[in-house]
Amino acid sequence: MTTELDPLIHVPTRLKIVATLAALPDGDALSFTRLQDMLELTPGNLIIQLRKLEDADYISSTKTGSGSAQRTTVALTKKGRAALSAYIQALRDLLGGLDVEATSPTAQSARLQL
């Protein structure tokens, strides 16, 4: 059972980035500007977060064109998709565990004592 949350994904901004890219079909990429519009982030903040994800090989970025026509696209890699799946599983395990803990006889009796 996986119960450790990937610290690279477990940050609100990066979680939103990974979740947004995961909503695309496998292999599809999203332009930097559309991603920025969707997440309402500043370019600087988005670049910093994308770099961290790219360093871990969770996303890949591609630059096309040159000068003012330059376009950057980002896509979730297979490793990134697998990391998100593991993260979701860890969340399920943790939240399931917390529910069980909250409804266990020990927890209920502790609450009654209060």
Binding site: L5, P7, H10, V11, A19, L24, S31, T33, R92, L98
Partner: protein
């Protein structure tokens, strides 16, 4: 801060607990699904109303014909043209909006799908012209436009969607073909009503399915 299991490695945004993460993940995923899905539940519901009004209007204008001529009244044609134009315009707009900034194999498949379906529409309805020119009987002329083009479009769509492994779309197209085939048994006038009701039901099911798919949780199994 109370210890929350599983956060041993977290170094940024302390206090972002698993419950908040699950809620944010669901919210971000739903937002992205809505943004990337070209055909929305609202559009499918609108199409359900359009087909019911358009095919229902045709049925109302031909059902009392004795002898049957198959000619549809001007008001029914006018309503159909306006509603179909609005539906096509809305569809083109949402497809363009959803695809903005998106590139890759799935996007190219979607564009191919759109092209193939446009061709199927032209072939399906265009085939009516030679029939009319050949002077087919009124019942045949009445039956063809209500069922045959949708049978062609539905089967072509199902084949292409299955090849692309777009299973919900393949099932939808097959359901359209079944509704069109069933309409063939309704006679020249009744076929309009059967097609209208059948397509309306298909679009409403599709709207409900799309809404469910967009809203379903990523975290909750």
């Amino acid at each position: 801060m109370d210890h929350v299991p599983g956060l041993a490695g977290a170094t940024e945004d302390d206090g972002f607990d698993p419950g908040q993460a699950a809620a944010l993940l669901d919210q971000a995923t739903r937002q992205a699904r809505r943004a990337f899905t070209p055909l929305t539940p609202l559009l499918f519901t609108f199409r359900a109303i359009v087909v019911l009004v358009v095919f229902g209007g045709c049925w109302l204008s031909v059902r009392g014909q004795h002898p049957y001529t198959g000619h549809i009244s001007g008001w029914a044609v006018a309503v159909a043209v306006v509603l179909v134009a609005v539906s096509i315009g809305w569809t083109a707009w949402v497809i363009g909006r959803a695809g903005t900034g998106v590139s890759g194999p799935a996007q190219r498949k979607w564009q191919a799908w759109t092209g193939i379906m446009a061709a199927a529409w032209i072939i399906g309805y265009g085939a009516a012209a030679p029939l009319y020119h050949a002077g087919v009987s009124h019942p045949v002329w009445g039956l063809y436009p209500a069922s045959a083009p949708l049978l062609i479009i539905g089967l072509a769509g199902a084949a292409v969607a299955a090849a692309f492994r777009y299973w919900p779309l393949a099932v939808t197209c097959l359901a359209i073909a079944v509704a069109a085939a069933a309409a063939g048994f309704g006679g020249p006038a009744g076929s309009w009503l059967i097609t209208g009701v059948g397509l309306c039901a298909v679009y409403l099911c599709l709207a409900a399915f799309t809404a469910w798919r967009q809203r379903r949780s990523v975290v909750e199994p």
